[in-house]
């Protein structure tokens, strides 16, 4: 009983631990560490406990008190910690079912009669029969999709104890639409609310009962995850959002009439991405100042049209949300930081029958969907977030069908490269295997290609920068981008009118290393839609000093320029 005395001594030393000692089995640090060095018993999900300590739980009266507390439902789980300098540390947790399953194993291995007796006694307290006796006559009522439904607990138990064939058949057979007179999905929803993981932790259920329960609550057989979610639209600004009629007409103009609501929702998203463009002035202006004020005015949304098409994330989200609402769909506008319009990055979640979808067209500014859709590149911002892989696959199929249709309309780009992207990567990998030694291309030659191309591109606003990012990726290796060529995007107010600013790029090159000999760095200024030009270090410093150039952040600074950026 050395440990029990040790614990009493601990509580004397730290009397404030008496309360916690009511619910936690506290050990001294040395005892706890001693047990950690013992042979370990694996239990639950990747958890371990000393075999000696585990046996002591039943044989040491001081420890057994906590087992009794657990089976008397005074505590939810048995927690074992140790005390170090007056704080509780470490944590071993055991539920009733974990305790019993492990005890059964120990009894079989040791043939210890005392432990076997304890097992029989405790297993009876947590038996399936006890559970059934406790809840069989209970009824539960849930409001599901706006209506109250009452269920008998016994019906849930009967369903989970069906033989596997009948269980799977009832779940998967679409002809079976109801169970006990209630829509099948509603029945499963109510079951998952009434029988929880804690129920499984507290009683010994058969393996098939547990498996059926897990199959249902993982939504792998029937996807009812969306039930009771987004019953109303959650957007404080919705009444103030107006979508420009011209934009509205353009979005709907070529939409196939026979599309399902899901396909329409996807179509609108991609069409908006193709039509709208991110405001590079907002980007270059660090999302502050006059340009930011304009975008933070919710009335500005109504002016966004196919020709006046520069937006930021919360305007895109506002327009998309409003159009979803027109389709009869509820959504939640999610903004980081503040709820007010423009109070941080915005995206939205919406529900469409069983689909739980998130939409974020500006995951990143240069490579978000609003940029990538214009190149028919794979899109990343519209997802089904359901746990069921079948539901996600169903969504993806609908998404690709709509994207393919829209990509085919876009004659300037071609067809649908996003469709074969994965297999394309595989083809290229195979080709590379047949060409283990790829040709070396000098930095000068690649730089010439870059400069020639930048002089020639003529895309809209920020799409130029997205294109530049792609060129950077294909022309230079990651190591080169770290050491000999750097692209720094800056805010540049040296433009046509005093009122506007834009995003420009300073390209710094030094074949011998940007940091080794910064005096030899060469600098180029790229203003989208203008010819690329050499620029001197002195000119850059002057423009930074005069606040004509601003860094977009303090990390991505121009190499060799000791002005601004991180101090």
């Amino acid at each position: 009983m050395v440990e029990a005395e040790n614990i009493q001594a601990l509580l004397k030393e730290y009397p404030y631990l008496k309360d916690i000692a009511q619910t936690h089995l506290l050990l001294t640090e040395s005892d706890y560490k001693k047990y950690e060095k013992d042979a370990q018993l694996k239990y639950g999900f990747a958890k371990t406990i000393s075999i000696n300590l585990f046996q002591e739980l039943f044989l040491n009266p001081h420890y057994y008190v906590y087992v009794e507390k657990l089976f008397n439902d005074e505590i939810n789980q048995l927690v074992i910690s140790y005390v170090s300098n007056g704080d509780t540390m470490g944590r071993i947790e055991l539920t009733k079912s974990e305790l019993l399953t492990s005890l059964k194993k120990i009894v079989v291995e040791t043939n210890n009669e005392q432990l076997a007796f304890k097992y029989q006694f405790l297993a009876n307290l947590a038996s399936f029969a006890q559970y059934q006796k406790k809840v069989a006559k209970e009824e539960v009522t849930y409001n599901i999709e706006g209506q109250d439904y009452t269920f008998k607990m016994q019906d849930f138990i009967t369903f989970l104890t069906l033989d596997n064939f009948d269980f799977v058949r009832i779940c998967l057979d679409n002809e079976i639409k109801t169970i006990k007179g209630v829509a099948k999905k509603y029945f499963f929803y109510a079951l998952s609310k009434s029988i929880t993981q804690q129920t499984l932790d507290n009683y010994l259920f058969s393996q098939s009962f547990v498996t059926h329960y897990q199959d249902l609550t993982s939504y792998s057989l029937v996807d009812y995850q969306a039930i009771n979610t987004l019953m109303t639209t959650q957007d404080p600004n919705i009444s103030q959002i107006q979508v420009n009629q011209e934009l509205h007409d353009l979005i709907y103009r070529d939409m196939p009439q026979d599309y399902t609501t899901l396909e329409k929702a996807i179509y609108i998203y991609i069409k908006l991405c193709k039509t709208l463009t991110y405001d590079e002035e907002f980007y270059a202006g660090l999302q502050r100042g006059k340009v930011a004020e304009k975008h933070e005015d919710i009335k500005h949304v109504a002016t966004i049209s196919p020709t006046n098409n520069k937006v930021v994330c919360y305007e895109f989200t506002a327009i998309y949300g409003k159009l979803l609402n027109e389709l009869g769909l509820n959504y939640k506008n999610y903004q980081t930081f503040e709820e007010k319009f423009g109070g941080g990055h915005a995206m939205l979640y919406f529900r469409l029958d069983k689909f739980l979808i998130s939409a974020d067209a500006v995951v990143t500014i240069l490579q978000g969907d609003i940029a990538e859709a214009k190149f028919n590149h794979p899109l990343k911002g519209l997802h089904a977030n359901n746990r069921s892989p079948e539901t996600r696959a169903e969504f993806k199929k609908a998404f690709l069908k709509v994207y393919e249709y829209l990509a085919r309309q876009d004659k300037s780009i071609g067809e649908y490269p996003f469709m074969q992207n994965e297999s394309f990567a595989q083809i290229v990998a195979k080709y590379r295997q047949l060409n283990p030694k790829l040709p070396d291309i000098t930095l000068a030659e690649r730089l010439d290609i870059l400069l020639a191309r930048l002089n020639d591109i003529n895309k809209v606003g920020i799409d130029n920068l997205t294109y530049l990012v792609t060129l950077r990726k294909i022309l230079f290796s990651e190591e080169e981008l770290r050491n000999i060529i750097k692209f720094t995007i800056i805010s540049n107010s040296e433009t046509l009118s005093q009122e506007t600013i834009r995003a420009s790029v300073i390209i710094t090159v030094n074949e011998n290393g940007l940091r080794e000999n910064p005096e030899a760095n060469a600098y180029y200024l790229y203003n989208p839609n203008e010819s690329i030009q050499r620029i001197t270090k002195e000119e850059i410093i002057k423009n930074l000093t005069l606040n004509i150039y601003h860094y977009l952040n303090t990390v991505d600074i121009i190499p060799g320029i000791n002005y601004g950026g991180r101090k």
Partner: protein, 73 residues
């Protein structure tokens, strides 16, 4: 330009019919050339290797590569 490359590729596939290794390489190139905007989806070194396999002379590689980039609107 891409169309020209596809024509060369077709000819080379015919030429290499009895040389499985070379034929297989051309078959892969055929699939790559069929990908829209393929030149934007590969590093320049792999793209040059493809052009070399299509028998583009060394002196013309940069010019052809740039033309391919220019053709993407």
């Amino acid at each position: 330009m891409n169309q020209k490359l596809q024509t060369i590729n077709t000819k080379l596939m015919k030429l290499y019919e009895s040389q499985p290794n070379l034929w297989e390489k051309q078959k892969l190139i055929q699939k790559i050339l069929a990908e829209e905007n393929w030149v934007l989806k590969l590093d320049i070194n792999t793209a040059y290797a493809i052009l070399q396999d299509l028998t583009i002379p060394q002196a013309n590689l940069a010019k052809v590569y740039l033309t391919l980039l220019n053709e993407i609107k």
